[in-house]
């Protein structure tokens, strides 16, 4: 699965970066995002869901960041 590292990127730039990254993939492909705790993990998954992508799981890494897996939705 391809990983997009959005750690250290603030809202809303992280969401915009995620959107741009998703343009490189086909519908149905799985993509992994690394997100900071706080604003990022609260907002980015919700915005990606609202754009029609399917959220698969969220896991906290021991280092304190979050790993979000999703399946790309229809363009």
């Amino acid at each position: 699965m391809h990983t997009v590292d959005l750690r250290g990127v603030c809202c809303p730039a992280n969401f915009v970066r995620a959107k741009l990254a998703l343009e490189e993939f086909e519908t149905g492909e799985g993509i992994r995002f690394l997100l900071d705790d706080g604003e990022a993990v609260k907002n980015v998954p919700r915005s990606l869901k609202a754009e029609g992508h399917q959220l698969l799981s969220l896991k906290e890494a021991p280092e304190g960041y979050f790993i979000l897996d999703l399946k790309k939705g229809e363009d």
């Binding site: 609260k42 919700r46 869901k49 959220l55 698969l56 799981s57 969220l58 979050f66």
Partner: protein, 317 residues
């Protein structure tokens, strides 16, 4: 201008609801336009610009309650301004001891946080209650679409805040934990079985869990307005307290009318006094009782008087 109209001809009906506010300079007025909920059609805005260029000053002022105010309008042009704005059905707002134009956020149509259609509610309240004379003091209403509450609803005489009560369908839940992570109120934590545990007494009804849930396991059980009464700002600020939860939008106008009736009845002999100060003097029991009669399913069991804000300046009368 014809020679005849050099003499001031003012239709006093235009001034009835107020909205023409005396400025410092001789003969000059600000004209406060009625913009319920702060939404202004672009076509109407164009006409306002035209009228402002013709009769107003170099700028307009955006009031803190979402009105557009034309400044430096000469007394003798008040009729012309009202008439020309009337072409696009732009009405003048109010001032004084009346029900004011309701304030609202953008609402739920395009703001992803919005839970209730605050624009619709603001328009309805404006159409049915605007300008009613209270006999005592001003009366302000505001609508916030969600508990983030950008319009600061509880600083109004009656403040409405969009709310949803979530409910979990356990079988559909995939145990991702996004809801627990999203919940700012700390009302959701993940149990040992990787399913969320909900503490309703901590919930502020923002709906973030429902919005983030990837599997639609969190559903809306109830939707409506959280209602707080008795707030105001100004010299001696008060924050309104809770009187109803999940009030449906179709009950909003009747609810405000019931609060107004209590206000008018209970401020007899108290002069120019805001609702919150009446509640502090008379207590909140009879208001709670009156409202419970009309809205039994939504009115809370107990509440407290409006909360006094310590401004640290002067001494509260």
């Amino acid at each position: 201008m014809t020679e005849q109209s050099e003499k001031s001809h003012i239709d006093l009906n235009q001034l009835k609801a107020g909205g023409f506010i005396k400025e410092r300079g001789k003969d000059l007025f600000s004209v406060r336009l009625r913009v319920p909920g702060g939404r202004m059609a672009v076509s109407r805005l164009k006409k306002i610009v035209e009228v402002a260029e013709k009769y107003g000053g170099e700028f307009v002022h955006l009031s803190v309650r979402q009105s557009i105010e034309l400044v430096h309008v000469d007394f003798k042009h008040i009729n012309d301004v009202a008439e020309e704005l009337g072409i696009v059905r732009q009405k003048v707002a109010s001032c004084g001891a009346r029900v004011r134009v309701p304030v609202a956020c953008g609402g739920c149509e395009y703001n992803p946080n919005g839970l209730m259609d605050t624009q619709k509610s603001a328009l309805e309240v404006d159409a049915k209650l605007f300008g009613i004379e209270t006999g005592h003091h001003k009366f302000k209403v505001a609508f916030a679409g969600c508990p983030i509450d950008c319009p600061k609803s509880a600083t109004n005489d009656v403040g409405f805040q969009g709310a949803v009560l979530p409910a979990l369908e356990r079988d559909v839940c995939i145990g991702c934990g996004l809801c627990a992570k999203s919940c700012s109120a700390g009302a959701i934590r993940m149990g040992k079985d990787d399913k969320p545990i909900f503490a309703p007494e901590k919930c502020i009804y923002c709906g973030d869990c429902i919005k983030v849930c990837p599997s639609e396991a969190w559903q809306t059980e109830k939707r409506g307005y959280t209602v707080r009464i008795g707030g105001k700002w100004g010299r001696n600020p008060l924050v309104g307290t809770l009187f109803a939860t999940f009030l449906p939008e179709e009950k909003v106008v009747d609810f405000i009318s019931a609060v107004l009736a209590w206000y008018q009845e209970n401020s007899e002999g108290l002069g120019r006094i805001r609702l919150g100060d009446v509640m502090i003097r008379r207590g909140t029991d009879s208001l709670l009782r009156d409202l419970r009669r009309g809205f039994p399913e939504y009115v809370v069991d107990t509440t407290s008087p409006p909360q006094v804000i310590n401004t640290q300046i002067g001494k509260r009368p």
